[in-house]
Symmetry: C2
Subunit: 82 residues, 2 copies
């Protein structure tokens, strides 16, 4: 069994309205030391596979087909054997 962590962030130059609004809200609450807020989604998968390489290829395919939008997202795949 493998645990696959797919971290999905935004490409440079793509606006992050959720992050911007969180920053605004934190500053309104008095947290003036916060300078920047970014939001990242992580999809945590539990899957079977022959080996780490096979799992990595499957995860790449999932990212391209469903998990991310390649126009705006960057992603990073981390695989942990269980």
């Amino acid at each position: 069994m493998y645990e696959v962590k797919v971290k999905i962030g935004l490409k440079k130059g793509i606006s992050d309205p959720e992050g911007a609004n969180t920053l605004k809200a934190l500053q309104l609450l008095g947290f003036m030391t916060v300078k920047e807020v970014k939001t990242i989604r992580t999809v945590d998968l539990l899957m079977d596979g022959k080996n780490k390489n096979d799992v990595k290829n499957k995860a790449e395919e999932m990212c391209q087909k469903l998990l991310t939008n390649p126009v705006i997202h960057t992603y990073d795949i981390e695989i942990i054997e269980k």
Copy 2:
């Protein structure tokens, strides 16, 4: 300057409809080896602070006031000095 990563997940027993729907969609696409999908949000903050402890306390306060809902979320704070 400190980078603060706040990982926000769901408490045990709280349903994760986004994860459940992602699992369903992946299986419909033929990825039958995927057994479980969980979604985690990470809020990545860049902030000033006197020391690591001060930053940690501020981050805890932010989690309780704005970033998380303590009824359904668990969170984990990681601090990196920059």
